[in-house]
């Protein structure tokens, strides 16, 4: 058993639809690694896609959470018409990967209001990709708590028409209004 003391634990996150077509696929590699990237089996788009197709075949309609596939640990969950995969190294701690995976899936559920399907993923693609970015940063697990992940993801900005009317009701505007009020109230209270 080789000991992995590095923080780079997650190799890829992939979301496929029910025909094995990609909705999202990100194969992680360290951004400044000196290591030769050709060592990775997922270097080309072609090798990635053949991996995905074979994996989909192996897992479609068989919900067993975890399999060993092509020298990787793959955690997956199938929903109505999408499958979410998380790929890790063969010697990785399975439970550690699982806690990351379930954190991510649960965050999706919060963000997509329990409607985890192809339609809502494509419609809310911005939130989905932000959630993944807040869970895993280039292969390093950033956070595993679903509530924290979901809370880090901003919703889409409100309509722009109001912006034009110089009333800032966007997320930030509300925050600053709230912060302003809080500061004022704090001052008042201290004065008392």
């Amino acid at each position: 058993m080789s000991l992995n003391t590095s923080l780079y634990t997650v190799k890829a996150v992939v979301i496929l639809d029910n025909e094995a077509k990609r909705l999202y696929a990100k194969y992680f590699k360290p951004p400044h690694s000196a290591e030769d990237a050709t060592a990775s089996p997922f270097q080309t788009l072609k090798s990635q896609q053949s991996f995905e197709t074979a994996l989909f075949k192996k897992t479609h309609k068989i919900n067993s959470d975890i399999i060993l596939f092509d020298n990787h640990i793959v955690l997956y969950k199938e929903f109505a018409d999408v499958v979410i995969y998380l790929v890790g190294d063969l010697n990785e701690n399975e439970v550690l990967l699982m806690s990351c995976f379930s954190g991510l899936v649960e965050a999706f559920n919060i963000l997509l209001k329990n409607a985890l399907d192809k339609k809502s993923i494509t419609e809310n693609y911005d939130m989905v990709v932000l959630a993944i970015d807040e869970t895993i940063d280039d292969g390093i697990i950033l956070e595993t708590d679903s509530a924290v992940i979901a809370s880090r993801v901003t919703g889409p900005p409100s309509a722009d028409a109001i912006n034009l009317a110089k009333i800032d009701l966007s997320e930030k505007g509300l925050f600053s209004a709230f912060n302003f009020a809080r500061a004022k109230i704090g001052e008042r209270l201290q004065q008392l």
Binding site: M1, L3, T5, L7, K21, L23, Y24, A25, P31, H32, L45, Q48, S64, D65, I66, L68, L75, L90, N93, E94, V95, L96, L97, M98, I110, L111, K113, T122, Y125, D126, V129, L130, D133, D137, I140, I141, L142, E143, T144, A147, V148, A150, S151, V153, T154, G155, P156, P157, S158, A159, D160, N163, L164, D168, S170, E171, K172, G173, F175, F178
Partner: protein, 903 residues
């Protein structure tokens, strides 16, 4: 940019959007005034969708996009900026001009903007490189100590990413990182974009992920300094550990395990640290601790503690936890099945697990742990659920049973019954084929099971829907049937096929029948002739041809007829190699026909030995590593040697090569001159082949030779072939030849003291050659002694029933030794004996169980006689290993030699 690359996609069903359209829309949208946040975020989402589907942009377009996206930094809306950061992060992979956004990003890092500050920090790590990272030092330092855990995590991760290119800079915040590991950072409650259906009450007050990141970074900063690493581990482990994050603890366990692996002497001191984590509230910590312990060299009691933890995890509700635990156990079972017998009850419970991988692991593990006591019960347990599982899985089980059958030949009764029941069940071809394969192997390697297995196969072909299987079984009946006590029994079964089946099966049945006729029994021969005569009227020409041919053969009484019954087994790899050589040659080679007699013929026993090895080593698990069989490799290597040697005229005169030893190293691998040797045995000579490697870069060696001094007068040096010039960093071969005693006996055993002798000359670094004027100076280099033992005159061979063969061998010698060396475990001793005697361990006796053991070895001498060795070993920590050796051999004096050699 060709129009082709922007081919319009059919975008009706929500597929990936068209690349060109998105590109144009993005440029328009981002450059519009005023910028619409909502619209731009939608466009960015589309752009990311493209990138994540595997599309890329040429660098120039990526840069254009990059420029227009950077305009969005001005926008006040943080939800837009959050997505902008992600887009920049992705585009930074394909665009070269990333540095120009540094200042915009820095502005957000400096701000106290709660939403995008962490995103800004993480993106910063992508746009900086080794030369520009200095500018961010103060910002990063501040962020690491930020009391907001998310900001701290982002900064720690970014430092981690930057470490390979900016180690010196990142080092400057080692102290801050150290602080972060132990600090308490609570999530601020007011920074979150909370979503509907989900209130702030569900948010934890802290998740401590930053500890995991800080610990990972700290390790990389310190891993060259073992003292401070140990200090850190001491500080962070134990009851008052500040570590709250289970992931951080997992990381800590890995550090401890790594130190223990690198320095085995520290294992016992570190064990309590690991053991403390075997009981933890988080599965992942328990699992990691158990994994770490089983990989270390610990005492059996300590090992058992880890096994107990895994045992508990086996009944965890989470699939993944059970999977992880059973996987670790499966790995242990391959080497030390006896150590996990305690888990058998739990493993049996997992046999019906809904996750197929878990149940497969459980079954194969159980079958590995099977000892001769519980095999019967195990098979019964498995038989119960065989009906519920898929074919694919049944094959895995049958394969495991097959391995088990070869391991415990005495249990063949139960296995046969089990396989027979499976054979009657419904199933596809692959499944039936695996059962038939298993039965074939049992017939070959477990002679006691032959009659029973043949009978089952006969019944099977009565009602078999697969032509291919029927043909194979008929062939086997033809091979094995005549050897049984009542061959007539099978004739009826075979002839039934002739009557009832299709032409392919009929023709193979005809051949099988004819083999019975060659037994030498006149009555049978006559009957077969009658049966075959009937086949002459068959509707199919192939069947008629075969019948006619067989009748002719039977009637002829030719000696070739016998070779039809037991054909010669040519060594296929050698045959292939020779044929390839022959075909590759020029016209001259074709003048002489290919000489089949040059190909070594393998006896059935040798063939069996090779296959037996393959079969018992094969792991029916997905993680198996393909490895060529050792024996096969040896025979190929032998072929190579004999070819090389026959090219040297002096050596070619010695006749054919009888045996070559394994490669023996005479020096450490890291020395200036690396010497390995191979011993070649010829009819009257012993040839030592020394392979010398000169690892020095500035020294050249001349007249390199080995002065080998035998300690016995029986060997006399005949000639020595030195290396004239051994250049820097090159390899060469020296041959030293001796006449060897022709008589079998203890005289053959000898030890050679070796000294490497040479003239050194310095190499001119410019010309890469030695100065011709330089006379150099004579030097010698002491290398280790070389022993010639009994193993050099024995080749491994397979024998099915060891005990009865042993008893039949006439010459016997026995002795008792103390092999000394109290520390080395029995397993090592056994492995050493097997290699040094170069014999095949039989009846699974190379697997050691406990403190006493019987090793059964079998081989053939180069003179052709059989030799069997039975060594009873007892290990005692105080006295070392005691061995009672009993050797029996076909030829005189062989037994004495082997006994002497073991001592």
């Amino acid at each position: 940019m060709s129009t082709h690359s922007y081919k319009k996609h059919d975008d009706a069903e929500g597929g990936a959007p068209d690349k060109m359209t998105v590109f144009q829309d993005c440029l328009l949208g981002f450059n519009a005034l005023p910028v619409s946040a909502k619209k731009c975020r939608g466009l960015l989402a589309k752009l990311l969708r493209l990138l994540y589907s595997g599309e890329t942009f040429p660098a120039s377009e990526a840069t254009t996009l990059f420029f227009s996206i950077s305009k969005l930094f001005q926008h006040k809306d943080s939800s837009l900026r959050q997505l902008v950061y992600l887009a920049i992060k992705e585009l930074s992979l394909i665009s070269d001009d990333v540095l120009m956004v540094t200042s915009s990003i820095m502005k957000d890092v400096q701000s106290n903007e709660l939403v995008v500050k962490p995103n800004a920090i993480r993106t910063l790590a992508r746009v900086l490189d080794g030369s520009t990272v200095n500018a961010a030092e103060r910002l990063m330092k501040n962020a690491v100590v930020d009391k907001n855990p998310i900001v701290a995590s982002a900064a720690l991760l970014s430092s981690y990413h930057l470490l390979p290119v900016a180690r010196d800079v990142v080092k400057r915040w080692t102290n801050e990182t150290q602080e972060a590991v132990t600090a308490q950072k609570l999530l601020p409650s007011d920074q979150f974009a909370l979503h509907e259906y989900y209130g702030s009450s569900n948010l934890p007050s802290a998740t401590y992920s930053y500890q995991y990141h800080a610990l990972g970074l700290l390790y990389l900063l310190r891993n060259h300094d073992r003292m401070s690493l140990m200090k850190m581990i001491q500080q962070l482990s134990g009851n008052n550990s500040p570590l709250k994050s289970p992931m951080a603890i997992v990381q800590l366990i890995r550090f401890v395990a790594k130190i223990a692996v690198e320095d085995p002497s520290a294992t016992q001191a570190l064990f309590p640290l690991l053991a403390a984590y075997l009981r933890h509230k988080s599965d992942m910590v328990e699992l990691e601790a158990a994994k770490a312990i089983v990989a270390l060299n610990v005492t059996p009691e300590q090992f058992l503690q880890a096994i107990n933890t895994l045992q508990v995890l086996l009944s965890a509700p989470r699939t993944v936890t059970r999977f992880a635990a059973v996987r670790v156990l499966n790995r242990i079972s391959m080497k030390n099945p006896e150590k996990i017998v305690v888990c058998n009850a739990e493993l049996e419970g997992l046999v019906n697990d809904p996750n197929r991988s878990i149940s497969t692991y459980a079954i194969t593990t159980l079958l590995k742990t099977g000892s001769s006591d519980n095999v019967d019960r195990l098979i019964k347990t498995i038989a119960k659920f065989m009906g519920d599982i898929s074919d694919e899985f049944k094959i895995v089980v049958v394969d495991s049973i097959r391995t088990l059958a070869l391991k415990f030949p005495e249990k063949h009764g139960a296995m046969l019954r089990f396989l027979n029941e499976l054979l009657r069940d419904d199933g596809g071809f692959a499944f039936k084929n695996s059962i038939v394969e298993a039965l074939f192997d049992m017939i070959r390697f477990v002679p006691a099971s032959r009659d029973g297995a043949l009978e089952h196969l006969c019944e099977f072909i009565e009602d078999c829907e697969f032509t291919e299987l029927s043909v194979r079984i008929l062939h086997l009946l033809g091979e094995e049937g005549p050897k049984t006590n009542s061959p007539t029994l099978y004739i009826r079964h075979i002839y039934n096929r002739v009557v009832l089946e299709n032409s392919i099966i009929r023709s193979s049945a005809v051949i099988a029948l004819s083999k019975f006729a060659l037994l030498g029994d006149a009555a049978i021969k006559k009957n077969i002739q009658i049966l075959l005569t009937r086949c002459l009227n068959d509707v199919d020409d192939e069947v008629r041809d075969r019948a006619a041919w067989s009748l002719k053969l039977i009637a002829s009484d030719l000696p070739e007829a016998q070779s039809f019954v037991s054909p010669l087994n040519y060594s296929l790899p050698v045959l292939e190699q020779q044929l390839a050589l022959y075909v590759a040659g020029d016209k001259a080679t074709f003048a002489t026909p290919f000489d089949i007699h040059a190909i070594p013929v393998m006896s059935e026993a040798e063939l069996n030995a090779i296959e037996f090895r393959e079969k018992t080593d094969a792991e029916p698990v997905t993680e198996k590593v393909e490895e060529q069989s050792d024996l096969l490799k040896t025979s190929l290597l032998q072929q190579k040697y004999s070819q090389e040697l026959s090219e040297i005229p002096e050596i070619a005169a010695y006749g054919s090569l009888l045996h070559s030893s394994k490669v023996v190293a005479l020096t450490e691998k890291e020395t200036e001159f690396v010497v390995t040797t191979v011993k070649h045995v010829f009819a009257n000579h012993l040839l030592l082949q020394y392979d010398v490697e000169n690892t020095l870069t500035d020294i050249e060696l001349h007249d390199v030779t080995v002065i080998a001094q035998p300690d016995s007068d029986a060997y006399a040096e005949e000639f020595s072939m030195p290396i004239d010039v051994l250049r820097a960093e090159s390899k060469g071969t020296i041959y030293v030849s001796y006449t060897r005693p022709t008589e079998v006996g203890t005289d053959l055993l000898a030890a050679f003291g070796n000294t490497l002798s040479f003239i050194t000359k310095e190499v001119d670094p410019d010309t890469q050659a030695a100065d011709p004027e330089d006379d150099g100076f004579q030097d010698e280099y002491q290398i280790e002694d070389l022993e010639v033992g009994p193993g050099d005159f024995i080749v491994p061979a397979y024998m099915a029933n060891f005990t009865s063969i042993m008893d039949a061998l006439p010459h016997q010698q026995s002795a008792v030794f103390n092999l000394g060396d109290g520390a080395s475990a029995l397993l090592d001793t056994v492995a050493k004996l097997v290699t040094s005697l170069s014999m095949l361990p039989l009846e699974n006796s190379e697997v050691v169980d406990g403190n006493s053991h019987v090793l059964k070895l079998f081989g053939k001498t180069i003179w052709g006689g059989k030799v069997g060795v039975s060594i009873r070993l007892a290990h005692n920590a105080a006295k070392g290993t005691l061995a009672k050796v009993e050797v029996r051999a076909e030829e005189e004096n062989v037994a004495e030699m082997v006994v002497e050699g073991i001592n």
